[in-house]
């Protein structure tokens, strides 16, 4: 055994080669981007390649878990390395792209200014952050996979990284002018720390789920949580209309005449068949939750069987609804006509739109209260009259909703996968102690990273806004996630909590990180609306 350890030490640098090559390769791509200019592969294409490589690597590692094969494991590892390489390259190439984008504008307008290169470091919006977040998760996985017994991680973390890149794809990576407040050397420090610590938190979350699996938590119990998550997503998207009106309405964009980010329109357009299939999915999910609860608490085997049938059916219908949604968004051209028909059938939507318009005008409470429903309706109609022709559908209007649905699908997919030959997977996973140690280690890193995120953010805010802390939604979100990890670490001291209890804490911590990353940006008002 000691000899084995010695061999491991001798090869300590060699085992980090996949990570080193991924990073080194990224810089080579940066050099090539400078050499070839715009003819070189785009950052978006590289991002898509990263997405494909992550999925490929995860599939091979999953195969290795079910049917152990040295070849599958190696392909999984090098696939992960390739994914990180593409991911990092995409981010670096984007840096140059952002620089050239603005430089072109400056030259065209006769502006002789030559801003510093760090102004364009790709940490300017949620797309950039998503690229870096996925990279953070990828590189953390790759560094941990240096140990052979942790290579299984790839199968669980990379699908999550792929989901983040999918979200990035929906957000869209068009270059836009940097908000002046973001032109600070604190930005790369603050956002860089954020993306890496989010990535580590993702790995911690994956380890926690794996721990629960290894600890013989029933797959059916996991299925209940996955189904509750999927149901919650369906219930809340489209402004709660799926279960209340049996319809899914997608957001609309109004083009920005100045270029850059488009404006969100106060109307939403119904996409055919999506609402109906989502309602069926919801019913099937409720069926699976009830059946699995019967099985978990009453050991009812028949309920278990039905639960799995409902779960698989809900997976299929959810997949179908996502297909309907994607096809609907891509193929709908006559937005105005369809929106007019929709509004003729339910004119109360004009009032909601009017309220949205008024809310953006920063009226006082008294002024807001003085507006009658007829005036709100009129405002909605005026908006449509003025802008109706220009409204268009885009994935970018609802990236969180789309990603929420895809994440729910992935969650259900993983649970369905785990329900096959579960014991076989458990056997292949490292010991509970080893997983617990890894979970603790990654939680410590996430905790330290989030602390740095909060502090660098506060120092930067003190330099730019004149106050270090203002309980802005994003600040508070990060604080809440940090406090959760703090509680995680302290429970290990005070109650000797480890293992399963710690795993639950780690899962909650990551969900709060995700809420900070996405939910705060899209759902809550605040100063961090750009990211």
């Amino acid at each position: 055994m000691q000899e084995v350890s010695r061999l491991e030490i001798d090869g300590s640098l060699r085992r980090y080669i996949p990570a080193i090559m991924a990073l080194g390769g990224g810089f080579v791509m940066l050099f090539l981007r400078f050499q070839f200019g715009e003819r070189f592969i785009s950052d978006t294409a590289l991002m898509m390649l990263a997405l494909a490589a992550y999925i490929l690597a995860a599939l091979f590692q999953l195969t290795n878990l079910y049917a152990p094969s040295e070849m599958a494991q190696k392909i999984g590892l090098w696939g992960a390395s390739l994914g990180v390489f593409f991911n990092f390259s995409s981010w670096l190439v984007r840096w140059v792209g952002a620089y050239e984008h603005e430089l072109e504008q400056l030259v065209q307008s006769g502006n002789a200014a030559k801003p510093w290169m760090f102004r364009y470091i790709p940490f300017a919006n949620l797309y950039d952050l998503s690229l870096a977040f996925a990279f953070g998760a990828g590189i953390t996985t790759l560094l941990l996979a240096a140990r052979k017994d942790f290579r299984f991680l790839t199968a669980f973390t990379l699908p999550l990284a792929a989901l983040i890149l999918t979200l990035a794809r929906f957000i869209g990576g068009e270059h836009s002018n940097l908000m002046p407040i973001l032109d600070s050397y604190w930005r790369p420090i603050h956002v860089g720390v954020a993306s890496l610590s989010y990535g580590v938190a993702l790995v911690c979350f994956a380890v926690a789920v794996i721990y629960l699996l290894k600890d013989k938590v029933k797959v059916e119990a996991m299925a209940v949580w996955a189904a509750i998550f999927a149901f919650s997503v369906i219930a809340t998207i489209s402004k709660f209309s799926v279960f209340t009106e049996f319809v899914y309405r997608s957001g609309l964009f109004l083009p920005n005449p100045m270029g850059g980010k488009n404006f969100s329109a106060p109307f939403r357009l119904a996409i055919p068949y999506v609402g109906e299939t989502l309602v069926i999915t919801g019913i099937l999910l409720v069926g699976s939750i009830v059946a699995f609860l019967f099985y978990v608490y009453k050991e009812n085997v028949k309920a278990q069987k039905f639960g799995h049938i409902f779960l698989r059916a809900s997976f299929a219908t959810l997949l179908l609804s996502i297909v309907f949604l994607v096809v609907g968004i891509r193929s709908t051209a006559d937005v105005q006509t369809r929106l007019n028909d929709q509004l003729a059938a339910s004119p109360e939507q004009f009032i909601d739109a009017g309220k949205d318009i008024a809310a953006k005008q920063r009226l006082s409470v008294q002024d807001f209260e003085a507006i009658t429903p007829a005036q709100f309706e009129q405002a909605g109609k005026q908006y449509l009259q003025a802008n109706g022709e220009r409204l268009f559908l885009s994935f970018g209007t609802n990236p969180v909703e789309l990603s929420g649905l895809i994440t729910a699908l992935a969650g259900l997919g993983f649970v369905i996968l785990f329900s096959f030959r579960t014991d076989k997977i458990r056997e292949r996973l490292p010991s509970l102690e080893s997983l617990d140690n890894l979970m603790y280690k990654t939680a410590c890193l996430a905790f330290a990273g989030l602390a740095m995120l909060l502090i660098t953010g506060a120092i930067w805010a003190n330099e730019s806004w004149g106050r270090p802390w203002g309980f802005d939604s994003k600040e508070t979100g990060a604080l809440v996630a940090w406090l959760t990890y703090a509680a995680f670490l302290h429970t290990r001291i005070s109650r000797g909590w480890s293992g399963r209890s710690s795993a639950y804490f780690a899962i909650v911590g990551f969900l709060l990180v995700i809420f900070t990353y996405l939910g705060v940006s899209y759902l809550l008002p605040g100063l961090h609306s750009y990211a």
């Binding site: 006769g110 002046p180 006082s364 270090p468 939604s473 008002p525």
Partner: protein, 501 residues
Amino acid sequence: MSSEAQLSSADDSIVSSPFDGERVKSAPLLNRLIDFVSSVRFGVVLLCILVILSIIGMLVIQQNVEGFEAFYASLTPAERIVGSYLGVFDIYHSFYYNGLLLILSLNIILASIDHFPNAWKYISKPKLDASRKWLLGQKENAVIEAPDSSTADIPNRIAEIFKKNGLRAAISEKKGKTFVFGESGRWNRLGAYIVHVFLLILFLGHFVALQTGFDADVQFVPGETTNQIEMIAFKLDQKEKFAVGLPFSITSTDIQQKLIDPKGSIEINNTMDWSTSLTIDDPEYGKTDAVVSLNNPFQYRGYRFFQASAITYGSARNMTLELTPQGGGEPITLGLARNGETTLPDGTKVAYDEFFPDFVLNNGKADSRSGEYNNPVVKLNLSKPDGEKSVAYAFAMKLPDSAPVGAPVAGYRWRLAEFEKSPFAHVLSIKYDPYNAAFIAWYVGGIGLMGALVFVFFVSHRRVWALVEENGEIVVGGITNRNHQGFKDKFAKLISDLRKI
């Protein structure tokens, strides 16, 4: 007490207080209360409550956040009363949120005091020996057979190998047995306390800054002077503004908006930076010039000035005027700054008066329809050497010769050839922090906290004992408080070196 028992008790850097484990019911009530307040378990409960309250504050729009007005207007009177009573519209300033932070701080102090002595023992009284049984009970252990050579020098040779492997070595003897103890990173045992000290500095500094200072805004129109700033207090749907006097006066000498496309709009997405030039006139310290721009604040006597926003009503900073002599001849080009003055070759003084971005005549008076640059015009005051005064309007657009507003004045037709776009005014945020408490909190407390966390999580306290038996056999056991995997590798390397002894 046997060395084995001593070692096992010392291995926990933080020994649970009675409330972290079983309650001591016979203890006096006050002691039990102090034990409770100083327990880590209570701290965890406080953290969980803090998380819940913070989430409520995120989900319920707070009164100082954009969108509160629409949200508040949508509530029923009953919801407003309940929400106001519970303080959920301003939860982060509520008495219970602040009280919670205070109790948490107290818990951190008491828990640290409670647990510190045990951690200090690792520094002051390191365990130098360990029994064979205990060593073999450790996860990382090995027995090395007696070397063929003489055993007399073995402890020194072990100590050398320990040192080579980054361990501080100490040789001791007990009950006729020789022990070599090696350790690294022992100060890491105090890492958690250092973290808590910096955290308290951060809390305290921030609290002092909030209690002794204030935030205010001030609008700067170039050329204007003020010695007052405006504080805004939020009270649900009411915003109260207070004027606060300054011990000095401030004059805005210039404002500049650096645009990406100088011909484009002055909206935020075409902006690279805003900067405001100020002159402070202080009866006590005289005059001081300063420039404030984004991410580049200026500090003066406890006041920090930050570039906050701009009033995006079109104005002009520098203008180029084209003057065509009435009697014919080559046009004259003239540069003029906002609020500036220049002189023509014939001695006529030209002074900037006002800029109209969207010029219109309103009841015969010059006015602007909007803040957009639809019809830019600069109004100029002219003063001839003989004292005759007149007013000229220089239009950017070309006017027909017959237009009355375009008629020659002071012997010239006036045209606004070019101008540098600028907002009408800048708004600066002013933070008054007389003790620099925010700076101390975030730079000392915050950066210290980051360093301490790195120290806690990236350094581990590694301890290795080697027991040299009488027959020369070496029993080695090791333990670490963090990074077990890394320690496993280091231990394997150490054993590999010891085998060569």
